[in-house]
């Protein structure tokens, strides 16, 4: 028997409870709400407990089994292709440990929250089935020790995201969003799959540690030219393929388009996709594969490989690009969606310039505060819907505050305002999450992780003078400023001032003791605290005061996660300039936002002050921002419509039906024409010749006519029987007659048979 308490085997069990729960929910408990939630929660809690045990073991707090550059794990054979055997296995190394802190916690909180959020949905049981499957897949991905198993979790999540984003499939836009998410990530996934196949073809293994601890192998991959796309090394091409996978999964430009639309799903799904699971999976995979991406390069000395540059440029650009868009969004969840894209851009850019640990750190803190923000926004939306109902009951008809004629939109921030006192716990959650997102100095987790990225980018860019790092620093600094600005805009528009609609005035979660209120707000408190303190695990050692307080023996996160790889990345000396930058952009952005939106809260129907300011420069600026720079429209024109044309007109109608069938039909017609010619020849010429021959021919013609009755069965039968008889008699003669002769005879017969067939075919056609 396997000892499951052994740290090498325990990780196998971590993803099991949610997967089991998913099966149970779909097959058994799907009629009972009570059983379903219990199953899902018990499973999630079990996973969380096991993950926490692993976590404690790995850092050696409780069980004295600290990881010292080693890892827990075990493997089992999965698919045996003889010469190549696929192993699957689990691995808990420092990086996994870090994820085991964030992912199960966030998943657990989201699950608890969902109980409240989905309490009144008609298909709530099914929802929990999908969510459990989603959670199981994410945990599987986290504990995987190789790319194949990781990819399995990756794809299962893709499918769950499709089902969950399109969960309210009665709504056309929800279904479309689901398909869009699935298809966009799918494009990236298959490219990633190519990368995996290529990696396997080159190395014969997909195990992380077998690849990364084999320096000769990595050096060989970096030196070998790629199979196609001249100029790249093999490692470079594999890396680019994998990075493209992440660009899709983590919604980076230009494949970011699915993520804002994914807001069509229920809000817990958004929290799951944007914080705990899906998008984090993309960055996590890149962090996992980092040594391969870095092979042959050394970003700490200014040598970059193609995948690194791709990440640096795409990440930095995405960070700024989506921060700009976020400024002009009015949907409370869309703002958060673009902020997610932007923050993932931070991580990608950090990875691109070699700030491996900083990216991992930001991944963890971002997971926490973004889950918090989404759940808070869900609570806001819930409160607004509640307020709308309430207002209806009192005979008010609720209008959009901005004068739109559509249905009342409970997600539009222009309809909110003044919610601070009405839903105080949610306000606390949103505020802490928002401040962490903005990177409010010293007291939020977001500050410490973002600061580490800035420190690295500053050091490499302006300290060492490497171009890509400089580029990254400048763009990220701008993006961070905008982040703080739009966060304050969001906080102000939602919570400050007076309610702009009747719904906002009546907004509530139904009192403190209801199921909805308890289950939805409890997680906010837990995560709210975490969003404040989680950053203290990664304070630089020589940071004034805080370093002394929290990092007496060195930056714990840095030292621990650094043990994932064979070589620890260098620790930077403290530099005050990037820290000042962090302070300035965060506080500056918050301050400007405060001046513009908080001090003078929007009145109902009043246009956005930023819009007014930008319109003074050019009226197109705001329009382009709020329309997300028309990327969706562009893709519709460039990809969707042409591919539809290709399949509809070109392949289906023209090539398949006209060309290929056309050729066939033409052959048949020609054959038919020949048949007709023969028939006439038969009648006119041959009938005219003497008596003896005509009689024989006449018999033949009679037979021939019978063939041409159009009775296909009979005719077919004859053809095949003829073939068999001829073949047998010919074969019988083989012993005596030269094979070549037989062959020629056979070939001739075959031709005759074929022609006969075609004639018959056409005859059938003409007879019709």
């Amino acid at each position: 028997m396997i000892d499951w308490t052994n740290a090498n085997y325990l990780p196998w069990l971590i993803p099991v409870p949610p997967l089991l729960a998913a099966a149970l929910i779909f097959l058994v408990t799907n009629r009972s709400w009570w059983l379903t939630t219990t199953t899902a929660l018990v499973a999630t809690i079990t996973s969380w407990v096991m993950a926490t045990i692993m976590l404690l073991r790995a850092i050696g707090v409780a069980f004295g089994e600290a990881l010292d550059g080693e890892a827990f794990g075990s493997t089992a054979p999965w698919m045996d292709l003889g010469s190549t055997q696929f192993q699957i296995g689990v691995l808990v190394d420092p990086l996994t440990t870090a994820m085991l802190f964030m992912v199960p916690l966030a998943i657990l909180m989201i699950m608890i929250y969902s109980v409240g959020y989905m309490a009144h949905d008609p298909r709530r049981e099914r929802f929990f089935g999908y969510m459990s499957l989603f959670a199981g897949a994410m945990l599987l991905l986290v504990v995987a020790d190789n790319l194949l198993l990781l990819f399995i979790g990756w794809e299962v999540m893709g499918f769950c995201s499709y089902s969950l984003i399109g969960f309210w499939f009665e709504k056309e836009s929800a279904h479309r969003a689901g398909v869009k998410a699935f298809m966009t990530t799918r494009v990236a996934d298959v490219i990633m799959l190519l990368g995996i196949a290529y990696l396997y073809a080159e190395t014969g293994t997909l195990s992380f540690r077998e690849i990364f601890f084999n320096e000769a192998l990595l050096a060989g991959l970096a030196a070998k030219p790629a199979i196609i796309f001249g100029g790249l090394s093999a490692a470079g091409l594999i890396g680019v393929f994998l990075v493209i996978g992440t660009i899709g999964k983590s919604a980076q430009f230009p494949l970011h388009v699915w993520l804002p639309d994914a807001m069509e799903g229920p809000t817990p799904v958004s929290a799951m996709i944007h914080a705990a699971a899906m998008v984090s999976a993309g960055v996590y995979m890149i962090i996992r594969m980092y040594p391969l991406l870095e092979a042959g390069a050394d970003p700490h000395h200014g040598v970059y490989s193609a995948p690194l540059l791709l990440m640096a440029y795409v990440g930095a650009f995405t960070a700024l690009f989506s921060a700009v868009i976020a400024v002009a969004q009015n949907d409370i969840k869309r703002v958060l969606a673009y902020s997610t894209i932007s923050q993932l851009g931070f991580m990608m850019a950090a990875l691109g310039i070699g700030a491996y640990i900083a990216a991992a750190f930001h991944l963890i803190t971002h997971g926490i505060f973004k889950a918090l923000l989404f759940m808070s926004s869900g609570a806001v939306i819930h409160a607004m819907e509640h307020g709308e109902h309430h207002a209806h009951e009192h005979g008010h008809h609720v209008h959009n505050a901005f004068g739109g004629h559509g249905r009342f939109d409970p997600q539009d921030m222009r309809n909110m305002g003044g919610l601070k006192g009405r839903i105080p716990v949610t306000w606390f959650g949103f505020l802490t999450g928002g401040l962490a997102l903005a990177g409010f100095p010293l007291f939020t987790a977001g500050f410490w992780s973002k600061d580490e990225i800035f420190a690295e980018a500053w050091h490499l860019g302006f300290g060492e003078g490497f171009g890509p790092a400089m580029f990254v620093f400048v763009l990220l600094a701008l993006a961070a400023f905008l982040t703080a600005f739009y966060t304050m805009r969001q906080l102000a528009m939602t919570f400050a001032g007076e309610p702009r609609t009747e719904a906002a005035a009546q907004a509530s979660l139904g009192g403190p003791k209801t199921v909805v209120s308890t289950f939805m707000q409890g997680p906010l408190i837990v995560l709210g605290v975490a969003a404040l303190v989680a950053g203290y695990i990664g304070v630089p050692q020589d940071f004034p005061l805080f370093g002394w307080l929290f990092s007496g023996n060195g930056n714990p996160f840095h030292d621990f996660v650094g043990g994932t790889l064979p070589h620890h990345p260098p620790t930077l000396a403290f530099n005050v300039v990037p820290v000042l930058f962090s302070f300035v952009v965060a506080l500056g952005g918050l301050y400007v936002g405060y001046r513009v939106y908080w001090r003078r809260p929007l009145a109902a129907g009043q246009p956005d002050p930023t819009q007014l300011a930008l319109d003074r420069i050019s009226p197109y600026l705001w329009q382009w921002m709020s329309h997300k720079f028309y990327v969706d429209e562009l893709y519709q024109r460039v990809f969707v419509q042409p591919s539809q044309w290709l399949s509809e007109v070109l392949t289906s109608k023209i090539i398949d039906r006209i060309v290929i069938d056309g050729i066939l039909h033409t052959i048949a017609h020609v054959a038919g024409w020949i048949g007709e010619l023969f028939k006439r020849f038969n009648r006119v010429v041959i009938d005219g010749v003497g008596d003896g021959i005509p009689q024989a021919i006449g018999a033949f013609a009679g037979w021939f006519r019978r063939v041409q009755t159009g009775n296909v069965q009979q005719y077919l039968l004859m053809a095949v029987l003829a073939a068999l008889v001829i073949f047998l008699s010919a074969a019988g003669l083989l012993v005596r007659i030269s094979p070549t002769t037989v062959l020629i005879a056979l070939a001739a017969l075959v031709v005759i048979i074929v022609v006969l067939n075609l004639i018959g075919r056409v005859w059938g056609g003409i007879a019709e």
């Binding site: 698919m79 010469s83 398909v179 199979i227 066939l664 083989l734």
Partner: protein, 535 residues
């Protein structure tokens, strides 16, 4: 060692005996006919499972001679003078195919339970079709193989033309039969050439597979002799494309694929299942067995361009499927696309890719049988297959919706299901093949051609996801038209059993591929060694 019970004969001939029995029944004995058919296919199915799990992979891996590569062999001289033996046996490629035939045929009978128009004749012909299919997979004699190959086509024609969809059945049946017949006759001629050449060289004229394989593996195989009158062209190089594509017609190789969607659409449900699920595999299987295995030198020369045809299959079929309005045509073209992957796997000429192709044959077989049964169930109740006018059927038939979604996930290569297990090795095989195999035209050689093929082929996978999602959404979700489909109810219990029978292997193989992969690998490894060894 396995000769005590003629397992393969029992599997193959039980349906034939049952067909005879059914024809002896009175015309009114509809239910009896169905029960006999179910019993016969069920018996073969169970025996197939038994055979599959007693197949000795370790023994196959340690095979010392050609004959040891095949298990459960039976041999009876048939026409001794011509060297024709009734010789049966299975190796690691054909054993899964026998199993697949069991799955599809048994499920097919269950789904055809509701046929009221001459069920006696229907079942008899259906069983005959099953005999033909089994026969090809277990044949170890080229003549026997060809005999069963043709035997499978006959009932096909009648089944489609008689019980098919009225608007298309005559055209489709004719088109299908012609295509396949022409292809098989071309291949037949090729086989005869090999028979004669081998006979001349060794003095033994025999259609026996073991004999032919031994000849093919001789150091200076007579198949590599030059053809008289054609400078520099060997027999292998001349005949390989004719044999491969001749059989490949049945596997739907572009541009000879057009019989298949029409045929699938026109056929009654059970026949579509066998047809797309198993019959198309006959083509791919025979192309490998007769073409690649006997003429490795020809394969080396020609597969690098044939792989391009298979690429067209994969991408082009998927694109066409995306825009079909007819539910059944979508599946029909998806078969064209997925069967392209099988031929593509053969064309990689390495163990990984070919194993993937073997897995894909099984996976696609079960998947597409499942698809067609779902389509049939919807059509039987809604009386239309027009996708835009369907919708919301998951509410009325949740089992069908669930099964279809599983099939859809398989077809888009979702990990954890059999499609991924099959497609991933094929793509890996393509990468692996890249440096080894080149496409040469004169002095001009394209080195990394297979990698480009792989990159373009993933387009097919993406488009597959698009059309599957479209169908799932429009048929099973969306709004349900209560007025038009007021009478639509859930499927019968037999239908559900059939769906379950087909879903199980898809999941099982996906989660635990070692149940099949090593077996297939044991059979393709010698072939791949022959291909790469240059023997």
């Amino acid at each position: 060692m396995y000769a005590s019970i003629p397992v393969l004969s029992l599997i193959t001939l039980t349906p034939a005996v049952a067909a005879l029995l059914i024809l002896l029944l009175p015309r009114t004995a509809k239910q009896e006919a169905r029960i006999i058919a179910a019993a016969a296919t069920g018996f073969s199915f169970l025996l197939g499972i038994l055979m599959y799990f007693s197949y000795d992979v370790a023994f196959a891996n340690g095979a010392q001679s050609v004959s040891e590569m095949f298990q459960f062999q039976e041999s009876i001289p048939w026409v001794a003078a011509l060297g024709i033996n009734y010789h049966l046996g299975v190796d690691g490629i054909s054993a899964p195919m026998v199993l697949l035939t069991g799955f599809a045929s048994f499920a097919g009978v269950l789904i055809s339970w509701g046929i009221e128009d001459r069920p006696r004749e229907f079942m008899a012909f259906f069983l005959l079709l099953v005999v033909g299919v089994y026969g090809v997979f277990v044949a170890m004699d080229l003549f026997v193989l060809f005999f069963f190959y043709e035997l499978a086509i006959f009932p096909m024609y009648l089944l489609i033309a008689t019980w098919g969809w009225k608007e298309l059945r005559e055209y489709a049946a004719m088109k299908l039969t012609l295509y396949i017949l022409v292809g098989s006759v071309v291949a037949l001629v090729g086989m005869l050439v090999l028979y004669v050449v081998a006979g001349q060289a060794t003095g033994t004229y025999s259609f026996d597979m073991v004999h032919m394989l031994e000849v093919a593996q001789m150091p200076d195989s007579p198949f590599n002799n030059a053809v008289a009158g054609l400078d520099g062209v060997t027999i292998a190089r001349l005949w390989f494309p004719l044999i491969f594509i001749g059989f490949g017609v049945l596997a739907g190789v572009f541009p000879f694929h057009n019989w298949s969607p029409d045929g699938h659409v026109a056929a009654p449900t059970a026949v579509s299942m066998i047809h797309a699920g198993v019959l198309m595999k006959l083509g791919a299987y025979s192309a490998l067995r007769v073409g690649v295995q006997l003429l490795p030198d020809g394969a080396r020369a020609h597969l690098p361009w044939i792989v391009f045809l298979t690429l067209i299959n994969v991408v082009y079929g998927a694109f066409i499927a995306m825009r079909q309005r007819d539910f059944k045509y979508v599946i029909g073209f998806s078969s064209v696309s997925h069967m392209g992957l099988v031929s593509m796997g053969w064309a990689t000429m390495n163990v990984t890719g070919m194993t993937g192709a073997g897995l894909q044959m099984f996976s696609h077989g079960a998947m597409t049988a499942l698809f067609f049964s779902c389509v049939g169930m919807v059509y039987d109740r809604a009386h239309t297959r027009d996708i835009p006018s369907l919708g919301g059927f998951s509410r009325k038939m949740p089992w069908v919706a669930f099964a279809f979604i599983i099939g859809g996930l398989v077809s888009m290569g979702m990990p954890g299901l059999s499609g991924f297990v099959a497609e991933f090795p094929i793509f890996m095989g393509l990468w692996d093949a890249s440096p080894v195999i080149q496409l040469g035209i004169g002095s001009w050689a394209l080195g990394n051609y297979f990698a480009v093929i792989a990159i373009v082929a993933v387009l097919g996978i993406i488009v597959t996801a698009a059309y599957v999602l479209r169908v799932v959404q429009q048929v099973f979700f969306g709004a349900f038209n209560e007025q038009r489909y007021a009478e639509v109810g859930d499927v019968t219990i037999l239908d559900k059993v059939a769906l379950a029978i087909l879903v199980v292997p898809l999941i099982l193989l996906g989660v635990w591929p070692s149940i099949m992969a090593p077996m297939i690998e044991s059979a393709v490894r010698p072939i791949a060694q022959m291909l790469l060894g240059g023997a």
